[in-house]
């Protein structure tokens, strides 16, 4: 037989039917159902196959801890695998598929794994797959992946929106059961800012299936009324469908709100899930308790269910578990279930109580078997009988449903997320939250309080104490009167059951059974952390919510110690799985990271630039013209044109920092290794910034615009880092200096105009005289443009080795100024050039970039040894630069490299070997840091860092790349390939 719906029962709307499909079969449920309750109402007890043995599995729980009833919901981009049917709300048109079965749920080939089970026991990952190693990739891993029976994600993009949000409150109440409602109400009435989160669609928790009355009202009505009052308060926020999944530093809680996971067509203006970070001055954990399964043979057969879940399905959803139900209990809670079932007209065949006597009187019709246990079950895809073990004898009783009531474990996960370990209480027979928590309290069943009245009282009392501590006055709260609550005694847990027949599962989701635990202990893995990994108990997506305490109890029993001595494994966020969508939030596609575009981006675009991403920036790489077939043709043209006529290049993405204050010069003198104190107003200087360990950090030019005002440029890549570094120096190292720093990178468009015609072109828009006499090399000043229409800064600096200028204008004018320069230069052959050409030109001149400044070089390595000030009392890096090793003669130093045969080439990253030397690590002499094709030299040219490099110009070497299998005969040379006398600069 199977489960079925009872008319007119529960909180579901019997007048609101919903259609849905399970494995493409049409079914009917009701508004208010979960997928699990709807499946049970349709008699669908088999819902999945187990992970390892592919055993038939049903619905075990009615909540977040569900290990078995994992299904795939939705289709295409909305496919959500491993959805717990017990928490998925039913909606019209829901499509669910069972998982881990082939070809079908009823006939599953993988069930043959059950026959292999002797080989799949504890440690099988370690034992079976140890050897031979090559089989790992070919055989074992694919096998494990296929056997790992969970759902499959869709490859289609998720069409839905996700959001992230912060919230702040005085009191965060986690869990909207009786304890949480009482706490929220007390604090809310006192005027505190309260947030109540509950994972369900309705606040109430256990009140939604409890048959007790509170102040004469049904428990569910009390929950509804209290929640309505809370929602009417301006200072209280009730968040349903919200799971608090983690407790973090600063009393911040992570929570995920399922905004639209209960609808078929999510509204596009709302997210489907919202990730919350809730900052709480105080928090109260009112998360209740988890019922423990009992570890008997065949305890995983469909039809076997937690007693509290069975009661939930009966009272909240109006679903009967079967026609002949048995209840296996170790405590009084089983009798409440028996009473409710019988009141609903469902036959209870037997109550099997492990104790000699119960704490409550039972007057129903069921056969009461005391001092007995269920040791096994029978049935194929659903339970058909139980085997009851008593006094050494076993009796078989036909049933179609079995409830197991193994006692309750407080849900203390969040209380352990910040390093604390749960503490075993022998008195309560439970693991309780660590003591001395700050900012977080526990109340109700989460603190092992079992009676309803006591939970309500505890919630209110804790809220009152918190409210007082916050300095608010708390109006007296009358405790409601509870009737008909049978309570739950804290019974002695029943870890191991005598006479177990067949596989008795401890961890249902990972298929870990009783014998696995025993094996782990016998083989020496009895430490709880080792046993967990050896057996994989508690390592599935449910993180052992049902299994952990049982596993610990069984290990304790096997070792003959108390569970206190075994202890628990570490609890880590997240309490339940959180979707990648929620964690990613809106940061997908082009929102994944910001895009930085230069103020000259559109100018470059209209000239046909090919862009390249460098960090967040889009930089113009080259500017192809019609007829050019390869990028090299374009770059060669641009390179030749700069040296022949002139070129215009966007350099706006260089970092720009304004440094001002009466100690600005002194400050620069300390952050650069070369002298800056006496730099004249109107002059620019190349500067080298070191790290405190003596290595070069960054380079750039800094210009003195006024006595106490400087304009610094940094490399593009290090712009943010240099700014942070300078702020550190100014604030933490030398706060006594009067210096101010402002990042002005985005405020200025900057363009380089380089080439013999640069001055003629530029003079057309610059009002001042920029002749060599009036504005010599390294001059820098504010200039007037277009007859006073605009002001900018002009710097006579050159990265190309040509007569060159850099002009900075306010960002918004950048494109117009570039247009004007192009127009002014038309007659002089001006062309735009990009990053590639910039690279060729600077390699031809032996100028370095971060290819060379790679964190391992000191100034002398790049030929800048003489720049380092010997007279300054202090600068960043001065002390460590004195180290002997940094002056060693065999340090790799800058040198040029060209192939002997100009038709040959080699790549950046290749190594330098002495001619005839074997390619070994010992023979490695250095490496190529930059390389390019130079149309002026007519071959590849390169810069390299080579041992004794500067004294080896002219030597033949081999450029070797093991990665590409290349070996090229080459010659070391002067790193300045073009115009070594810098004659073109000073014209």
């Amino acid at each position: 037989m199977s489960s079925y719906r009872l008319p007119k029962r529960g909180l579901v709307d019997h007048n609101a039917p919903l259609s849905f499909t399970f494995d493409d079969r049409s079914m009917q449920g009701l508004e208010g159902d979960t997928l699990a309750s709807a499946l049970l109402a349709n008699g669908q007890m088999l819902v999945g196959r187990s992970f390892k043995y592919h055993r038939p599995r049903g619905i075990l729980t009615a909540g977040a801890a569900e290990p078995n009833a994992l299904v795939t919901v939705g289709r295409r981009g909305r496919t959500e695998p491993n959805t717990r049917a017990t928490v998925q709300e039913l909606y019209e048109g829901l499509e669910a598929q069972s998982q881990n079965r082939w070809p079908s749920l009823n006939f599953d080939v993988g069930a043959l794994n059950g026959l292999m089970s002797p080989f799949l026991g504890a440690g099988f990952y370690y034992k079976t797959f140890m050897w031979p190693a090559p089989l790992w990739e070919k055989l074992y891993e694919p096998f494990i992946r296929r056997a790992a029976g969970l759902g499959k994600a869709s490859y289609e993009a998720d069409p839905d929106a996700y959001e992230k949000s912060w919230a702040h409150c005085d009191l965060l109440v986690i869990g909207g059961g009786p304890t949480g409602l009482a706490a929220a109400l007390t604090a809310g009435r006192a005027g505190a800012r309260v947030i109540l989160v509950d994972e369900g669609s309705l606040p109430g928790g256990s009140l939604l299936f409890d048959t007790a009355t509170i102040d004469g009202r049904a428990a569910a009505d009390f929950a509804r009324d209290t929640s309505a009052e809370l929602q009417s308060m301006a200072n209280v926020r009730v968040m349903t469908r919200t799971t608090a999944f983690g407790w973090y530093d600063g009393n911040v809680f992570g929570a995920v709100e399922r905004v639209q996971k209960h609808v078929r067509d999510p509204a596009s203006h709302l997210p489907v899930e919202r990730l919350w970070r809730i900052v709480a001055r105080q928090a109260l954990l009112a998360t209740g308790a988890e019922e423990r399964p009992l570890v008997f043979g065949g305890n995983d057969r469909p039809g076997v269910m937690m007693a509290s879940a069975m009661r939930t399905y009966l009272n909240r959803y109006g679903v009967a578990p079967g026609k002949a139900t048995a209840i296996f209990t170790t405590n009084d809670s089983g009798y409440g279930l028996a009473r409710d079932l019988e009141a609903a007209g469902v036959d209870v065949v037997a109550i099997i109580d492990s104790r000699p006597a119960a704490g409550v009187e039972y007057r129903g019709k069921a056969r009461l078997i005391r001092e007995a246990v269920v040791c096994g079950t029978k049935g194929r895809k659903a339970i058909s009988a139980i085997e009851v073990h008593r006094d050494g004898r076993t009796e078989t009783i036909a049933v179609d449903a079995l409830a197991m009531a193994g006692g309750f474990s407080p849900i203390v996960h969040l209380a352990c997320h910040r390093g604390g370990k749960p503490i075993w209480s022998a008195e309560k027979a439970a693991f309780l939250a660590p003591e001395g928590l700050k900012g977080l309290g526990l109340a109700g069943a989460a603190a092992a309080t079992t009676e309803l009245a006591a939970c309500l009282g505890e919630g209110a009392a804790q809220a009152k104490a918190i409210v007082k501590e916050l300095g608010l006055s708390c109006p007296p709260v009358a405790l409601p009167k509870v009737e008909g609550d049978e309570g739950i005694d804290s019974s002695k847990p029943l870890w191991s059951i005598p006479g177990v027949k067949g596989k008795a599962f401890v961890d249902f989701q990972n298929d870990v059974h009783l014998k696995d635990i025993g094996l782990a202990v016998r083989e020496g893995y009895s430490h709880v952390e080792l046993a967990k990994r050896y057996t994989t108990s508690g390592m599935a997506t449910d993180q052992g919510k049902l299994s952990n305490v049982n596993a610990i109890g069984l290990i304790a029993k096997a070792r003959g110690v108390s569970p206190a001595e075994v202890g628990t494994t570490t609890f880590r966020p997240f309490y339940t799985p959180v979707s990648f969508g929620a964690l990613t939030g809106p940061h997908t596609g082009h929102h994944f990271q910001p895009v930085r575009k230069s103020p000259l981006h559109d100018w470059a675009k209209k000239h046909g630039a090919v862009f390249v991403e460098t960090g967040l920036w889009y930089r113009s790489s080259w500017f192809p013209r019609s007829g050019e077939r390869t990028w090299r043709e374009s770059v060669d043209r641009e390179v030749l044109n700069v040296r022949k006529n002139a070129g215009l290049c966007d350099v706006s993405m260089l970092g720009k920092i304004e440094i001002s204050g009466s100690d600005a010069a002194e400050f620069l003198n300390r952050v650069y290794c070369n002298a800056f104190l006496k730099l004249a107003v109107g002059k620019a200087r190349y500067g080298l910034m070191l790290r405190e360990d003596g290595m070069i950090y960054d380079d750039g030019t800094t210009s003195r615009l006024e006595e106490n005002r400087f304009f610094m440029t940094t490399t593009t890549a290090y712009a943010a880092g240099v700014m942070n570094h300078l702020e550190f120096c100014a604030q933490a190292l030398w706060p006594e200096l009067d210096v101010r720093l402002a990042s002005i990178t985005d405020q200025w468009a900057q363009m380089a105009i380089a080439g013999p015609k640069a001055r003629i072109i530029l003079q057309k828009i610059v009002d001042e005289d920029i002749s060599d006499a009036a504005f010599p090399f390294l001059a820098a000043k504010e200039v007037s443009l277009f007859g006073g229409a605009l002001h900018g800064y002009l710097f006579r600096i050159s990265f190309s080795g040509e007569l060159a200028y850099e002009l900075a204008v306010p960002a918004g004018y950048g494109e117009s100024v570039a247009d004007a320069l192009m127009e002014a230069g038309t007659a002089h052959g001006v062309m735009p050039y990009g990053l590639e050409t910039l690279g060729v030109l600077r390699i031809e001149k032996g100028h370095v970039t971060h290819n060379e400044i790679n964190g391992t070089v000191v100034p002398a390595d790049l030929g800048f040894g003489k720049m380092v000030s010997a007279t300054k009392p202090d600068f960043i890096g001065k002390a460590m630069l004195q180290r002997e090793g940094l002056a060693a003669p065999d340090r790799p130093q800058l040198v040029g490299v060209v192939p002997l045969d100009p038709r040959q080439s080699f790549r950046t990253g290749s190594h330098i070997l002495a001619k005839g030397a074997a390619a070994t690590l010992e023979n490695d002499e250095g490496y190529v840091t930059s390389s390019a094709y130079s149309p002026h030299i007519g071959s590849t040219i390169a810069l390299a860092l080579v041992k004794h490099g500067p004294s080896r110009h002219g030597e033949e070497v081999v450029v070797w790349s093991g990665l590409h299998g290349e070996s090229t005969a080459a010659r070391l040379c002067n790193p300045v390939f073009f115009d070594p006398q810098n004659e073109r600069l000073h014209v």
Partner: protein, 92 residues
């Protein structure tokens, strides 16, 4: 996931806004021994307990702060501006 840093200028702000430099050591005098410099640049304590660290409120006020952080619990006992020592009113 989250944690808050009590910036003296901006209040309690999420840690993602900050950049951590590491131990808040004082820089040796320019003429200090090589050993002092070596210690400053390379040697770090690794205590289980409170530790003073430089944090930069990069996406906030851009001030460098000295945080007294417990390495085990991440509790922030104090947070002062590295230059003027000011602290958040009402403490950390």
């Amino acid at each position: 996931m989250a944690s808050l840093v009590p910036c003296p200028n901006c209040g309690r702000r999420p840690k993602e806004e900050f950049t951590i430099k590491g131990a808040a050591l004082s820089r040796p005098a320019p003429g200090a021994d090589a050993a002092d410099w070596f210690n400053y640049v390379y040697l770090r304590d690794n205590p289980r307990g409170t530790y003073e660290e430089y944090w930069h409120h990069t996406s906030g006020c851009r001030r460098w702060l000295v945080l007294t952080r417990h390495t085990l619990t991440h509790e922030v006992a104090a947070c002062r501006d590295a230059a003027d020592g000011s602290q958040l009113e009402g403490g950390a």
